[in-house]
């Protein structure tokens, strides 16, 4: 899996943050939420779902970096959501970094020009969906789950390597199914905050992210 990206270094007080911004075609991708925090949806085409899977694999390995997808910069899909919905960027954060979402606005304001990089990731980073050991979710003390927060028109997703790899595997499978399916078929998955039925994100942040993938989705 290969990804072109820009690497930024941001100094904020005594802290330095590395921000990786993958350079990809985001025009077919749109992330939005209802202003009341009731629901959140990510619309992608198969290429976008596959790229997002790779980005999840990158986040799993990026113990010291923030992975930023400025999705609002794209034109969005040809079937845009209603105007009243808020479009969002996406930020993936390794849990070991302990990055508070509230700092994102200041970090983003200092991004500046990045340095181009090419990231190569082993294809084995994303396990096959059937290889994911869901039994672990029932173990005492298990916390390999994604966690959602919101800041500065950005969905901040924090997770462990395993949590990001499992999400990446689901997105990779979604891309595979949608690319071989009928153009009018509905392909989707749901990523949840803290796993099903446990925990709630901060007020105003939906507890689940519905990801829809349409092969016919194109640039608006």
């Amino acid at each position: 899996m290969r990804l072109r990206a820009e690497l930024h270094r941001v100094h904020l007080g005594r802290d330095e943050y590395r921000v990786i911004t993958p350079a990809w075609q985001t025009d077919g991708t749109c992330l939005y939420a209802s202003p009341d925090g009731w629901f959140m949806e990510l619309q992608v085409d198969p290429q976008g779902a596959g790229d997002l899977a790779t980005v999840c694999a990158l986040a799993a390995r990026s113990r010291h970096s923030l992975v930023h997808l400025p999705l609002r910069a794209g034109t969005g899909p040809s079937d845009p959501p209603e105007d009243r919905l808020d479009r969002l960027d996406l930020l993936l954060v390794h849990h070991s970094l302990g990055f508070p979402a509230s700092r994102w606005k200041e970090v983003r304001a200092r991004l500046g020009a990045g340095t181009p990089h090419t990231v190569d990731l082993p294809g084995t980073d994303l396990p096959a969906v059937e290889a994911v050991d869901h039994e672990r979710r029932h173990f005492a003390g298990w916390r390999d789950e994604l966690r959602f927060a919101g800041a500065a028109h950005t969905l901040v997703v924090t997770g462990s390597p395993t949590a990001f790899r499992w999400a990446g595997s689901q997105l990779h499978e979604l891309a595979r199914e949608a690319s071989g399916g009928r153009p009018d078929a509905h392909h989707c998955l749901t990523l949840t905050h803290g796993g099903w039925g446990s925990g709630r994100p901060a007020k105003g942040v939906p507890g689940s992210l519905h990801v829809t993938c349409a092969p016919g989705r194109s640039v608006g």
């Binding site: 173990f139 005492a140 003390g141 916390r143 390999d144």
Partner: protein
């Protein structure tokens, strides 16, 4: 900023631990899979909180980050110290 370490804690911040099965067995506390037992990690945080699986038990729960980067929140019954100089050194926490 470092948060205060609870007085009730018997594992130290940064202490190396392995995941284990409670001895004696405590089925009401849940279980760990055979492939997980023995996984090593480091204690990152400790909070004292109520656990309704065990009546009204209130005690330390440890955030352990294992070698594969996974976070676990476990009671001391599921941990054994790998640090020979530790005062805990037992699974009873």
């Amino acid at each position: 900023m470092t948060t205060p370490w609870p007085d009730e804690a018997t594992f130290a911040r940064g202490e190396r631990v392995a995941l284990t099965t409670p001895d004696p067995p405590r089925p009401e506390l849940g279980h760990l899979g055979a492939e997980i037992l023995g996984t090593r990690g480091v204690v990152r945080e400790c909070v004292v909180k109520a656990d309704d699986r065990d009546g009204s038990h209130v005690g330390p729960v440890y955030y352990v980050e294992t070698e594969d980067g996974s976070p676990w929140y476990l009671r001391p019954e599921f941990l054994v110290s790998l640090d020979p100089t530790s005062a805990s050194g037992t699974t009873t926490g």
